[in-house]
């Protein structure tokens, strides 16, 4: 995706990121978040949760990955996320996004993103500012 091709309202191609237990375990090790509520379904259910949960900051990083795929070589300037609901490990969420602002002078685009859990509930919402090189 080139900056010249971006238009207000453009939708990013939806993605279904891999949030298997294997991936979540790998993430929690990298993020120093070795807590069983993220990696042990049984433990999480005993805590009243629907199952082991994908860490909020992993969902945030999944949004960043989607942006990189949409606009290779771009630079994310900021990513503000709101953690709204549970995303259970091993399910199939959907990330969608749309362009909500285009700054032609700065070559910066604002993108709104939503990670929706398999049950249809909103898991994470985010807004990113993305810079395109000249």
């Amino acid at each position: 995706m080139l900056f010249e091709d971006v238009e207000l309202g453009d939708e990013l191609p939806a993605e279904h990121p891999d949030i298997s237990m294997e991936r979540v375990v790998e993430f929690t090790k990298a993020a120093h978040m070795n807590f069983p509520r993220f990696t042990d379904h049984e433990f999480a259910r005993k805590e009243g949760l629907p199952g082991a949960l994908v860490p909020g900051i992993m969902s945030q990083a999944l949004l960043a990955t989607m942006i990189h795929r949409w606009a290779p070589g771009c630079r994310i300037l900021s990513l503000d996320t709101v953690f709204r609901g549970h995303v259970v490990v091993g399910t199939t969420p959907t990330i969608s996004g749309a362009v909500t602002d285009v700054d032609d002078d700065e070559r910066v685009v604002e993108v709104d993103l939503t990670l929706t859990a398999e049950d249809g509930r909103t898991g994470v919402m985010g807004t990113a500012k993305v810079a395109f090189s000249a």
Binding site: R23, A30, L62, A64
Partner: protein, 154 residues
């Protein structure tokens, strides 16, 4: 960077806490950006951009929100009041990326309270406490800022 849209006039205890705590550094921490952690982070979230997955790439760097996992020893100032109720919720994180983080970078972080505000919804008044971690590298160049929105409700 905090989202105070839709907020309301703050209660006395929130006003007092804002006056006392906002903007003051209450903890510091240091971290080293480890290449294996940077790689594992990027690979675990399906990243395919070689800037984040290939250490031989001349622009190899940490994934944009890498600092979101780096926290100080104290989450809140030592004598911070128990405002807003006993239940705590992780409301989300906002990351500003100022410069790439490279393998081996020594990061120094300062923790402050960036904002305290209230919002009232169907379940009552919620208090938002925004903890900010500001990161600089070994050259004292700002590299990242992370705002963590902690929500307390009755």
């Amino acid at each position: 960077m905090s989202d105070t849209e839709g907020t309301e006039p703050a209660s006395t205890e929130v006003q007092e806490a804002k006056a006392k705590y906002v903007g003051f550094v209450f903890d510091t921490a240091t971290f080293t950006a480890e290449q294996d952690k940077m790689l594992a982070w990027a690979e675990s979230v399906g990243e395919t951009d070689p800037r984040f997955t290939d250490p031989s790439n001349p622009d190899f760097q940490a994934h944009p929100t890498f600092t979101a996992s780096l926290v100080s020893r104290r989450v809140l100032p030592e004598d911070f009041p128990k405002i807003g109720g006993p239940r705590g919720i992780d409301g989300g994180k906002a990351v500003v990326i100022q410069q790439p983080i490279r393998p081996g970078d020594r990061l120094k972080a300062s923790a402050t309270i960036a904002d305290i505000y209230e919002k009232t919804g169907r379940s009552g008044t919620m208090t938002f406490i925004v903890q900010r971690m500001s990161f600089v590298n070994q050259n004292d160049e700002p590299v990242s800022m992370v705002d963590w929105k902690m929500i307390r409700n009755p």
